[in-house]
């Protein structure tokens, strides 16, 4: 039996639009602040936690992953969006499928960030859990504060090999 594999595409706002937002400064118009000492890029993603509360957390990688990597599950958060912004220069690889009751495994696609881009999964987007490719990588997480169960898991019928 052959192994299904996917090679990540470079992440762009346009490609990622069905799944969420790219948090970056390139695609929005800059304002200025503090007597023009800063450029300011406003309101870069759509946070959506329903009647929940937004929390700011930090994740730090302990054990790195290397490619190729076999993905055997994806998850979704039915109650809220979830954003990851790298606090250290590091690439992020995501595997996603559109928000829907069930996962269309043929619709799974992978993207690779440029090392600075953050991402915001819209509420319900299916995605593989965060991976890091080095230790001590740090990410800011902006999502719904813990409370009600907010993670559905889908085991892939056909695991996917993520290629570099």
């Amino acid at each position: 039996m052959s192994q299904r594999s996917i090679k990540p595409l470079p992440l762009t706002q346009e490609r990622f639009a069905p799944y969420g937002d790219v948090i970056e400064t390139g695609h929005s118009e800059a304002g200025s602040m503090n007597e023009a000492r800063f450029e300011r890029f406003d309101d870069l993603c759509k946070l959506d936690v329903g009647d929940g509360r937004i929390a700011i957390s930090i994740a730090q990688s302990r054990s790195p992953t290397s490619l190729p990597y076999l993905v055997d599950m994806v998850e979704r958060h039915p109650l809220g969006s979830q954003a990851f912004v790298p606090l250290t220069q590091c690439k992020l690889i995501v595997l996603v499928a559109p928000a829907a009751e069930s996962v269309d495994e043929n619709a799974l696609v992978a993207f690779e960030t440029n090392g600075r881009q953050g991402i915001n999964y819209h509420r319900g987007t299916w995605h593989m859990p965060l991976l890091a490719f080095e230790t001590a990588q740090r990410y800011l997480i902006i999502d719904r504060a813990a409370g009600a169960p907010n993670c559905d898991i889908h085991r892939l019928d056909e695991p996917i090999l993520l290629l570099s």
Copy 2:
């Protein structure tokens, strides 16, 4: 006439408690996530935007400031908290006074971050505007989305010289 001056103290959660939160991993207990490949430090600051909406923005420094620097005004956001998290390794210096209708200029104190710490001003905390000491420093801002007027300015009766 002598010039009032302030030398920033190293920022700690305890020192900053009257003004806001320090967004860092040191002072909270780590959980784990994604099969223990990450440590996760949850819910690191108190976001408070009242009936407003939380926005995620990025500021990038254009013209750096050097110390000593003369501060002649402070501001506050009466309608919401405001967080700054460095996306590049860089120190942040803040000058703050407690939330109150008027500024007690004798209560102004300054803190310096360790280069990784983020800060979250609680709603109404008086603070000097963000300064950067190098160009192309980047900060994630988590605050109340633009809308109603949300910035009060106070000109200092006695400007303060920030020392290094």
